[in-house]
Symmetry: C2
Subunit: 270 residues, 2 copies
């Protein structure tokens, strides 16, 4: 448990996707200071070897430790799947929270022994992180993982509603339905997908739980803080990236739900 | 001019996209032996520095030279934009053909002094390669470049027709129309986009020329060969990749329009 409310929460991702997690944390804990690091120069992590991903995650963590963070959020499914335990060991006793476990836990709590559908990237599906996390928590649960790369592109383009998003989401869900798998819950297993939450909920059969892993991670962060900053004054926000301030500001602004200026992004070397 | 019809044509790309160029070359020159190298371990090139891209292109070229190629096709827009001249100098007198120039040339020949719309990736747009190539060939031409990342994702997912592809293409084209730019020609400025040619043609205003840069590159290749292999016997096809044989076979098969077995992909180190 950490109690220095002046120290920021550190959040890292390979790109801008983790900003949905940052947004959820800020909504829940508006007084906290936050520092975000997007390793945009080396994305996507998904095609890199586990050894490289672990090294990148260590470098990003080292940079965030320079900011005297009180807690680290690995807001990247690939790094969460590959490097979480090693990071925990390296920075102990600093709490380290990934995005996979909170989502898996929320899903099995909502639907014990249920059927879960994980929407994710090809890499996350290949790594099977949600499948393993759910099996650990609820051996009776069934899990199907569906790679949905087009949802990443829709989110990055900012096309999060309308006929394009709907037709794409419907086609992915129809493929699952045709295979006679009828999920009780849909887990948004990619940090990009909370942007498409409304359209996914609208296209899913009535009664399906939608588990937003950004929101569940934010709840988990709150539970780990012994003391939280006062809510009256909005905490400071620091944004770091390893490349492409202009794209980061444009796409990241959509993810954060507010206008970002290119000058607000500090480019750092890891 | 090269005349050893037993030597293969070498084709290289950062991924599977260049297989549309390979397919077009094979359709035009079915007797030619072809060797393709996809640098899948290091894609996307678009986020790398020009110096890195140039180095990757040199390494890929060196590997293809080991195959005794008679001609090199750089079937990658980013590498064509960044490294073509350096590669030409390095391997002279071996002919080196990129994908940008043939497309630009076909467009200005079809519509001299016309208005061109280049559909491309964010990186190709940022590099401005088509804009410069068209300006060199036809200073009276107008050019607008439109980043269309969702078309890449649609092509990789294999969703090249139907309501999803149509709604996405219509939205991109509507944005151009709303800005009061009415193109005479649409250039498919990404090696993924020939897969979406039919839907793009169907969504474009009647009378718009569609310039398929895979096809124009294949025509250019033919024009550079003094002697072509007999058409009666299909040439050999060798596929090399730097990572991910399974994904290469699955997605590449769609691009090539035929079933590829994972075992047919040779993984190489560069």
């Amino acid at each position: 448990m950490t109690d220095d409310t002046q120290a920021p929460i550190g959040i890292f991702d390979s790109g801008v996707g983790g900003l949905t997690v940052l947004k959820a944390i800020r909504a829940r804990l508006p007084g906290e200071h936050l520092v975000y690091l997007g390793d945009t120069a080396r994305l996507p992590y998904g095609t890199k070897s586990p050894a490289s991903i672990a090294r990148y995650a260590e470098q990003a963590t080292a940079r965030l430790l320079d900011e005297d963070i009180r807690l680290l959020v690995v807001a990247c499914n690939t790094a969460s799947a590959v490097a979480l335990e090693a990071l925990r060991a390296a920075v102990s006793p600093l709490p380290v929270i990934g995005v996979v476990e909170p989502g898996a836990e929320a899903a099995v709590v909502a639907r014990p022994g249920g059927r879960h559908l994980v929407l994710a990237t090809e890499t996350t599906v290949r790594l099977g992180a949600y499948r393993r996390a759910i099996a650990r928590l609820d051996p009776a649960a069934e899990v199907r993982e569906l790679p949905c790369e087009l949802l990443v592109a829709l989110a990055e383009e900012g096309w999060t509603e309308g006929v394009e998003a709907e037709s794409v989401v419907r086609r992915y869900l129809a493929a699952v339905e045709q295979s006679d798998y009828h999920p009780d819950s849909i887990i948004l297993g990619c940090t990009h997908f909370p942007l498409l939450r409304d359209v996914i909920a609208a296209c899913a059969p009535a009664g399906t739980s939608i588990v937003d892993s950004a929101e569940t991670t934010a709840r988990f962060v709150e539970s780990q803080l012994a003391d939280t900053a006062a809510k009256g004054v909005r905490g400071a926000l620091k944004l770091l990236a390893t490349d492409g301030a202009s794209r980061f500001a444009r796409v990241g602004g959509q993810f954060l739900g507010e206008r970002l200026e290119e000058s607000a992004i500090e480019i750092v070397d890891l």
